[in-house]
């Protein structure tokens, strides 16, 4: 259990003081895969560096299993950091060491014997699927392979928490998925709490159970991924979920149309052509003025704006028809074209 309570952090820069984090509180259940998402400059990196105290927060506390890290001395922190390891966007492998020696690195720091470290490192390289690359140098590996070595290295000291700082941002989509799959299996097998810092919605959607949305140094929203992404309440969350813009700003439609907003709230609707069926069964032709839907865990989330040319009766029929479908909401809305 990680309890981040009211932490704040300011930086003094040439342009004045920047408040990177403002009164941030997040609690992360043990064994969870927790996403922290936000645009660049939202304070994600500062937050993750506060969790392992590479940055000391100006105020607030960070408790891991009841131990407040803010109260620990530098030397105590060093041993605590073996329990909170980290992987990075740039992998940050030691380029002059081969893979085996890279994985041995945290064990050397912890004072383990050479033979013990080597044995453990070989096991871990096997775990991440690179058992045959022990003698290769990082420069000889692809980005995905380098990140696997970094993951093996992060696991070497049997940590309780794995921090992933934009760990897949430098990778292509296929490699990203395989790395996320690896992280998920590690989380399941070893029960390590994983914290994923990212700006990519897709990463959070595919792997995280909980998410916190960070905006301008503040937590805009947090909760279960399905909940937050299907009902984004805050502006910051809506911007992330509907990056193309809100429904009010991007509309294609003719004049004289009336609008119905359809909300997909985890409907199994993806398989059935709802709008087409409505046209066939009710004779109502709807113009899709705006749509942003996503499939999360095989269910549809998002919203759609239908333009309907017709009278009150048509609009009411449409609303009624759409609402009948499970997990779909519909209502008439006024929008300015």
């Amino acid at each position: 259990m990680i309890d981040i309570k009211n932490i704040s952090k300011k930086f003094n820069t040439a342009e004045g003081t920047v408040e990177a984090l403002k009164n941030v509180s997040i609690s992360i259940p043990e064994g969870d895969i927790f996403g922290i998402i936000g645009m660049s400059g939202a304070g994600k990196s500062t937050l993750v560096r506060c969790i392992n105290m590479l940055e000391r927060p100006d105020a607030g506390s960070i408790e891991i299993d009841g131990v407040n890290l803010c109260e620990l001395s530098e030397s105590k922190l060093r041993s605590v950091r073996r329990d909170i390891t980290m992987i990075f966007q740039g992998f940050n492998l030691l380029m002059q060491r081969n893979c085996l020696k890279n994985v041995c690195f945290p064990l050397e720091l912890a004072g383990k014997s050479k033979s013990e470290a080597k044995k453990r490192a070989l096991e871990l390289l096997d775990t991440v699927g690179l058992g045959d690359k022990a003698k290769a140098y990082p420069a000889q590996l692809s980005g995905g392979q380098q990140q696997r070595v970094a993951i093996a290295r992060a696991l070497a000291t049997n940590p309780k928490v794995l921090l992933c700082d934009e760990a897949t941002s430098a990778l292509d989509p296929t490699t990203t998925n395989s790395i996320l799959e690896l992280i998920r299996s590690i989380n399941e097998k070893l029960g390590i709490t994983v914290i994923i810092i990212t700006h990519q919605m897709s990463v959070v959607e595919s792997i995280c159970k909980h998410v916190a949305i960070l905006d301008n140094g503040e937590v805009a929203e947090q909760g279960e991924v399905t909940e937050v992404f299907s009902h984004p309440k805050s502006l910051a969350a809506r911007k992330l979920v509907f990056p193309e813009g809100s429904t009010d700003s991007l509309i294609v439609g003719g004049s004289g149309e009336r609008f119905v907003r359809v909300i997909f709230n985890g409907a199994g609707a993806t398989g059935s052509p709802l709008i087409a069926r409505m046209a066939v069964e009710k004779g109502i032709e709807a113009n899709i003025a705006y749509a942003s839907t996503k499939s999360i865990g095989g269910k549809a989330y998002g919203s759609m704006l239908l333009g309907i040319s017709g009278d009150d009766a048509d609009v009411n029929t449409a609303v009624e028809y759409l609402t009948q479908t499970p997990d779909v909401l519909a209502e008439e809305v006024t929008v300015h074209v």
């Binding site: 073996r82 980290m86 720091l109 000291t157």
Partner: protein, 237 residues
Amino acid sequence: MFNDLFSKETLSEAWRIIEAEFPTAIWETVYVTVLATAFSILIGLPLGVLLVVGEKNGILPLPSWLLHTLNVVINLLRSVPFLILMILVFPLTRLIVGTVVGTTASIVPLVIAAFPFVARLTESSLREVSPNTVEMAQSMGASPIQIIVKVMIPESVPSLISNATIAITTILGYSAMSGIIGGGGLGKIAINYGYYRYKYLIMIAAVILLIILVQIFQSVGTRLAAKADKRIKKKSI
């Protein structure tokens, strides 16, 4: 003045001198250069490390007055011309070696002149190590000493070797200058025969040998640096 440069007598006389004096001179030059470089690295490398880690945002911040003093001393020593420095350090040389003339005595001013240079070269090598790599080590719980010994220095080895090569060739050049105060080696021969006795052929031979020595040091250094660098992609088998 070069009229009888290649006459039969000059040639045979030159050959006699070369045969008699050059083997010792080459040995003295190499001896002085290698020893002076070794001592310069011994003093300059730790100072270079301090310049990097001791910064305000470094991993082992030093009191700012100390870092400032260190910088000033290094800059001061680097700005004194070597010829003047040799004379200025006479008292120190006498204290350490017991005399101010001779081959071994010339090592002292060489080291004094070269260690600040080595410190700056080390500083620039260590700055090539990415701050992200250092952060990685910190996130794994590395102490400042562990970061220096296990990350910063090993990661910059190729660059350190290249810079050591620059240092050794520069020191070789300085060592030739120390011929003026009686330091042995090829420099002394070039000055004594070429400058004082107008035996240009000897001077040219000494200079050519110096060039060859620089070439040898440089190519060995370049090769070692390339061999040490694991970032250069080699096809994995």
